[in-house]
């Protein structure tokens, strides 16, 4: 059945820069903001933008992600025609390969896209936190008659050299693309969100696939090739909250942004809901001894201690006499009596034993450059009285992982 526009969501990332936190799951399945997982954002954006057909490209430990997406019902993507489809690499008569790059992942699924015979294809990333109406971007794509529209946002000039920068003319037509330029000529950073006219993209994907020297990546190969060939590429300016949560620091930052009204990340706004799949649990309980301030609390929590500037996901427990500050507790994390947790991310189902101490504030660090948030992987337990220093990362086997 023909669709005007479908979305392909790149969710294969291993999330190696999230280290122990990803545990056995792919990065987009990592919990965010108390009730969500990272992938809820692009999926909800699709649902809210009227895109009802989404292919989710997975390959790294997809079990948790597959399980989470299921029929797609929480995002209203369980459709008779279309809906959400998980697309892992598969075997064909010419052999089987892993997805070699972002472009290759889509190239291997040309058959899936062709099923819907779309005019346009949106290519989205599975690890960004943002609320965006893709229908506005699609409208601009059609109005300008572009072959490719790339969503960009203005970043501070001094940070521009960390991004892929688009140089544009007066009509926001892209003239040049530079990956992490030392001397940026523009401060328009690519957000990794593209809309292509499918016929064009299809041809370039096949051309790219035939080139053995190519890394089969959108940013490195396909976009530059289209620019070189003189295709019409237009920048679409996005204003609003957007964050790539591919690193521990940015993931922690984005969670903290939930707590500051000035950040622009407002999850209570009902006009653009973010949907999620959460288990049934009773409301959060605040005990007589609870002292909670500037924090986000989800259902199922049981709070008896002090919680400040912290995001508590569903079913998190903070026992009496425990103190939790500037931290993110993922679903089911438990902080036992008298423990202290500061500047930390506690993975799903992790446990901080009685009187243990996890993490420390930046003011305590001898060398501020070496300071970082402390991280416990999923199901990791810290023994009573044990200390986990700032910047340390533990997984459930208690093997410490070094940040590289």
């Amino acid at each position: 059945m023909k669709k005007e526009c479908i979305a392909m969501l790149l969710a294969g990332g291993q999330g190696s820069r999230l280290y122990v936190l990803t545990g056995d799951m792919a990065k987009p399945a990592v919990p965010f903001g108390g009730k969500f997982r990272i992938i809820d954002f692009p999926l909800s954006n699709c649902a809210n933008s009227g895109i009802d057909t989404v292919g989710v490209l997975t390959q790294y430990r997809p079990l948790e992600l597959n399980n989470y997406i299921g029929s797609g019902q929480p995002w209203e993507l369980d459709r008779m025609n279309g809906g959400v489809h998980i697309l892992p690499p598969y075997q064909s008569n010419t052999g089987a390969t892993w997805y070699k790059g972002t472009a290759n992942a889509i190239c291997q699924n040309i058959g899936f896209v062709d099923l819907y015979d779309p005019e346009y294809v949106a290519v989205l990333s599975g690890d960004h936190i943002y609320k965006m109406d893709y229908s506005l971007m699609l409208r601009r794509h059609k109005e300008t008659g572009a072959d490719c529209t790339i969503s960009v946002m203005e970043v501070p000039w001094h940070e521009a050299s960390r991004f892929g920068i688009m140089n544009v003319d007066g009509a926001d037509v892209i003239t040049d693309f530079e990956e992490k330029p030392a001397q940026p000529k523009s401060n328009l950073a690519s957000m990794g969100i593209y809309i292509f006219t499918w016929k064009k993209l299809r041809a370039y994907l096949l051309q790219d696939d035939a080139d053995p020297a190519s890394a089969n990546d959108f940013g490195k190969n396909v976009i530059p090739a289209m620019l070189r060939a003189g295709e019409k590429m237009v920048a679409y300016r996005f204003e609003g909250y957007w964050k790539d949560v591919g690193t521990l620091d940015s993931l922690w930052d984005a969670n903290m942004d939930m707590l500051s009204p000035g950040s622009g990340l407002n999850l209570l706004d009902k006009r653009w809901p973010i949907y999620s799949r959460t288990p049934s649990c009773p409301p959060a309980f605040f005990a007589e001894t609870a002292d909670v301030g500037n924090s986000a609390v989800a259902k199922g929590c049981d709070i008896r201690g002090e919680v400040k500037n912290t995001v508590l996901s569903y079913n998190a427990v903070v026992e009496e006499g425990a103190v939790v500050t500037y931290s993110v507790l993922m679903p089911g994390a438990v902080v036992k009596k008298g423990a202290r947790v500061e500047y930390a991310i506690l993975g799903e189902g992790s446990l901080v034993g009685e009187g243990a101490h996890v993490g420390a504030g930046p003011e305590t660090a001898a060398d501020p450059d070496k300071w970082g948030v402390a991280v416990l992987g999923p199901q990791t337990e810290v023994a009573p009285g044990e200390t986990v220093p700032a910047g340390a990362m533990l997984d459930k086997t208690h093997g410490q992982e070094a940040k590289v």
Binding site: K35, L259, L268, P283, A290, G293
Partner: protein, 365 residues
């Protein structure tokens, strides 16, 4: 086919719940912050492996239908069986002009539905009791004792039918409003064919009350077995009882029993984000659902989704339903506020613990 079929009665009862049942029937009254009354028995059924449930709807059922929809929240949205809504009197004015005269009449109206029940047993239940009961154990006891009907009862107080059991647990006498023996929780288990024959037998004589005809009338003819339930059960019939039962949820032991993780209570999903606690807010001894914004002080209260308590406001001993707003510096004590109530800045409202103040849906103070 082995197993049980669920039938839930959701009908208008005498109005002890005052304003709370003005826009809805008992079964869709919010309870425990995240739930409606009917969620409990419905989840109990699903947790016992029941996959077909009929809900007999009567009276102001709009709110109930909005809540149940296709039944997917309880995993009862199936192409064959699953949840079936049975608005029994909606289309039949010959039947008591739409008045609910008894469960037997209601069942007679949907006899075609009953005839197609696949399971050997039927579990009948009302929708105004919040409890977490292992219904599989009820079925096992029913089979073991060889009873014709098993009636679930509990050592509690309140209005309604009371059962007197002999030493083997068999019901010797069922008495109304006597407050002697064990209170009947209006959950009954019997064979499907027995139910059909009872419906035929009494409705042909224009007798409609299951309680009067069967429980009280056939105590000798049938083996009616009492199943004594010792857990927490909130049977809500009036405002004071509703308030008291709600406040018992602040006791962790009661919550462990009602929200036992082995048999979770399912509610309709919601997409509210987490609750936000302001640095100046304080919240103790309270249950708070998602999507609330708490800038003032909250204690000994139960807050449903999307409640806003503004700076300087004090909420004490209250039950606030979805989207209630307590404006700046308002003080509310022992108040039950229905959906989307607005309490204006600086307003002081105080009910009594035994007689809480009820604000109807959408009221502005």
């Amino acid at each position: 086919m082995n197993g049980m079929h669920g039938i839930i009665f959701s009908y208008e009862k005498s109005n002890g719940l005052r304003e709370l049942t003005e826009p809805r029937i008992h079964g869709s009254v919010p309870f425990g912050g995240s739930y409606r009354m009917v969620d409990f028995i419905l989840s109990d059924m699903v947790n016992a492996g029941i996959r077909d449930v009929g809900v007999i709807m009567h009276g102001k059922c709009q709110s109930m239908m909005d809540h149940l929809r296709s039944g997917k929240s309880w995993d009862l949205s199936r192409s064959f069986g699953g949840l079936t809504l049975l608005p029994v009197f909606a289309y039949n004015s010959a039947r008591g002009n739409g008045r609910f005269r008894g469960k037997l009449e209601a069942l007679d109206v949907v006899k075609d539905y009953l005839r197609h029940i696949r399971q050997d047993y039927v579990l009948l239940a009302d929708s105004d009791v919040a409890l977490n009961i292992d219904l599989k154990a009820v079925l096992e006891t029913h089979i073991k004792t060889g009873a014709d009907i098993t009636a679930v009862c509990a050592p509690s107080t309140g209005d309604g039918l009371y059962l007197n059991l002999d030493e083997t647990g068999r019901v010797r006498e069922a008495v109304d409003e006597q407050h002697q023996g064990l209170r009947c929780l209006q959950i009954f288990l019997l064979r499907t064919d027995l139910l059909l024959s009872l419906v035929d037998r009494f409705v042909s004589r224009h007798e409609y009350s299951f309680q009067g005809c069967v429980l009280q009338g056939l105590t000798r003819e049938l083996h009616i077995q009492g199943y004594v339930f010792h857990g927490f059960a909130a049977h809500i019939t009036d405002v004071a009882g509703y308030y008291a039962s709600s406040m018992r949820l602040l006791d962790p032991k009661v919550r462990q029993d009602l929200f036992c993780p082995d048999r979770p209570i399912y509610a309709k999903e919601n997409d509210a984000a987490s609750t936000y606690m302001d640095p100046q807010g304080g919240c103790v001894n309270s249950l708070v659902d998602d999507g609330c914004d708490i800038q003032g002080s909250v204690r000994n209260s139960i807050l449903s989704r999307g409640v806003r308590v503004e700076k300087g406001a004090v909420v004490d001993g209250c039950i606030l339903f979805k989207d209630t707003v307590v404006k700046k510096d308002a003080v509310v004590r022992h108040v039950i506020a229905d959906k989307a109530v607005k309490i204006g800045p600086g307003v002081h409202l105080e009910g009594a613990e035994k007689y809480p103040l009820v604000l109807g849906k959408g009221a502005e103070v």
